[in-house]
């Protein structure tokens, strides 16, 4: 056991820190979940890409730095410490890209990844449907074979697609074969597609989230043609391919401890700036928050060591997601209390609070995660 970073890793940290100090905008950008704010974030994403910081963990040939998981953690820590902008490209680079690395063809990787890294193509998810949220395998959007044209025709509606109204491409699951009668077979017959949103037959309708930003979209598909080259993984095998992505989403990649360390530091700043100081009770709640953040950081270091040793994360990622989603809310709840009467106003903490409440809902609700933990980690009987 050695809980220190090597000289090489510290050098990487210094390099990232120096670049971020010089380049992070002094004034925070407007929300990337609005149309105008999104455009400003794209400038930032392209700036990151040109300096080689947009996809640090990817291979160099696709625009990355070949950073290992430890370096990725360091980069995230520095990124959030510096107060750098939210990553509006994250659904592509953290969800689709890992799936492409695992299941994509070389042609797909060469065609898609460099444009994703450069923020030329902007990817959103097309998973959930109005009738298929937690029960994703119950989705009914169809893919119909068109042999003559060498591809598929997509029909149906996807929803809650984050930043879908501003993106150029979507990835998601469609039913390509009728579901079998058996409950256990219904995950079969789904296929993973990648589709440009300017394809004929696609209609995009943005709608507001809880916080009022147009961060969501409905995607309507009406005989949208997708060529075979845009199927990711094997036909009818999309569930397995998609699960690799959702594992990535609720595992490490979307929520590094660095985010919460930075939030905790800002919470302490907020406490320091509070007129009259903080009460003993608030100080004790700050200690609880620190314990939650520290626990998550240590847990993540242990997890990364396991991954480096070749252990599959599996159902353990459900515990990860449970912890960080609850942690994010509790940090913001404490911030609201520290804000006092100011908490009636729109601001980064009040907005952040509303966003944090989505954590236990997206990427598989926390109820689903608890089912997974109970069934797969504790071995309790299935009940759905």
């Amino acid at each position: 056991m050695d809980l220190t970073y090597s000289a090489r890793e510290e050098q990487f940290r210094q390099e990232a820190r120096t670049w971020l100090q010089v380049n992070v905008p002094a004034q925070p950008l407007p929300s990337g979940d609005t149309r105008s704010g999104f455009a400003e974030h794209l400038h930032w994403e392209r700036h990151l890409f040109q300096a080689g910081w947009s996809v640090v963990s990817w291979p160099r040939e696709y625009g990355g730095r070949d950073a290992d998981l430890w370096q990725w953690l360091i980069f995230e820590e520095e990124y959030y410490r510096a107060g750098a902008p939210q990553r509006v490209t994250q659904n592509g680079i953290f969800l689709l890209a890992p799936t492409l690395f695992q299941f994509g063809t070389e042609e797909q990787r060469d065609r898609i990844l460099p444009r994703m890294a450069a923020a030329d193509d902007l990817w959103c998810q097309a998973w959930s449907e109005p009738g298929a949220g937690s029960d994703l395998a119950g989705l009914i959007s169809r893919a119909t074979r068109d042999d003559a044209a060498g591809g598929w025709l997509l029909n149906g509606q996807k929803t809650w697609s984050t930043r879908g109204a501003f993106c150029t491409h979507a990835f998601g699951l469609f039913r390509s074969a009728a579901p079998a009668d058996s409950e256990r077979q219904r995950h079969r017959g789904l296929t993973y597609f990648m589709v440009p949103l300017d394809a004929p037959g696609v209609t995009v309708r943005g709608f507001s989230r809880l916080d009022g930003d147009e961060g969501f979209a409905d995607l309507f598909f009406s005989d949208v043609f997708v060529p075979d080259r845009d199927v990711l993984g094997a036909v009818h095998d999309g569930w397995r391919v998609a699960m690799a992505t959702t594992g990535s989403e609720r595992g490490l990649t979307l929520r590094s401890p660095g985010r919460f360390r930075a939030s905790f530091e800002r919470l302490c700043d907020l406490a320091r700036s509070r007129p009259g100081g903080v009460t003993e009770r608030l100080a004790d709640r700050l200690v609880s928050s620190w314990l939650d953040v520290e626990a998550y950081a240590r847990y993540t270091e242990q997890t990364v060591t396991r991954i480096v040793d070749g252990v599959e994360l599996g159902a353990q990622s459900s515990l990860n997601k449970l912890h960080w989603s609850e942690l994010d809310i509790s940090l913001h709840e404490l911030a609201l209390e520290l804000l006092g009467p100011q908490a009636v106003l729109d601001g980064p903490w009040t907005k952040g609070y509303q966003f944090s409440l989505s954590g236990p809902i997206y990427a598989g609700t926390n109820e689903i995660q608890r089912d997974i933990a109970a069934e797969r980690l504790l071995g309790l009987p299935r009940s759905r």
Binding site: M1, D2, L3, T4, Y5, S6, E9, W70, C268, A271, R272, R274, G276, G277, V278, T279, E280, A283, D284, L286, V287, W290, L291, E294, A295, Y296, R298, Y299, E301, Q302, V304, T305, R306, D309, Q316, L319, L322, H323, E367, Q369, R370, D371, A373, A374, E375, L377, L378, G379, L380, P381, R382, S383
Partner: protein
Amino acid sequence: MRFAFSQDQLALAEGVGAVLDDRCPPSVVRSVWNGEQEPAQQLWLRLADIGLLGALVPEADGGLGLTELDIVLCLEESGRAAVPVPLVETAVVAARLLAGSPQAERLPAVVDGELRVSVALDGSGLLPWSGFWNWALVGDGKAVYLVPAPECPVEPVSAVDRARPMAELVGMPVEAWPSADRYLLSDDPRRIALARQSGTLATAAQLIGLAERMLSMTVHYVKQRQQFGVPIGSFQALKHALANALLAVEMARPLVHAAAWAHVQDTTSAGRDVAAAKIRAGEAAGRVARTALQCHGGMGYTQESDLHLWLKRTWALQASWGQPGELRADIARALGIQSLGSGGRND
């Protein structure tokens, strides 16, 4: 960065776990509960045989010369078994304080199990493991002494965990005793603080083991207990309660392991890290204890169930070797949070 144990450390814990499975079944814990010490004596000698009692004792004194990090998993195993013997007090705290002390010649007696030590360093004057210990490590905050039982005036008191029976020191302060000088172990505040830190860390590890055992007992129970014609473990309410209990343990354990590393490396944050480990291990074990009892229902709400032995050890260790309140205040100080208090600002 590498947050994992070595093969040697894992193998040692596995070996200790196997010995405890064999020599410390619930019946042994229960025998101490019932006032019978013989099985505990047997267990103690076995722990000496396998070297665990002398694990931290320098090799020159017949020990294994290991560190707290090397044995933290073994201590988890000892918690899993709810060992009814003063392992933390003797093999960790006394072993650490004896080394380099005026009484260092007693180290071989730690290794062979002859020395059985109770400890009262927290000002409570409460000494655990009545009927078992033959030396007491007592302190008044400025100095600590290792005193033989016949010269240590105690009165029995009734303990919640009767498998860890208690006595109360009478006639403190120690330095007033005529023979105190002969028994001085240390008056170096840093050495004393580090030894207490070892005890806190070791107790945190035992709490993790207790939590794991209660969780596995409960999972086993809810899979076989049938109500409404199905195993009660298929009910989502219980599944979610147990998932939350698991989460608490999984998030506490890395804090304990990281604290063991920091303690052995003597990092600047070691005190804070050990405090965090004890707080979260205690909270996790407390959460698991409540969930375990609730899931066992009426079947668990009786001293006839072995679960009660683990519940009571959990409560005993939560209250020992560092209270959550004082540990949280330590962390607030370490983080500079306490100075934000209105009292500090008004100065």
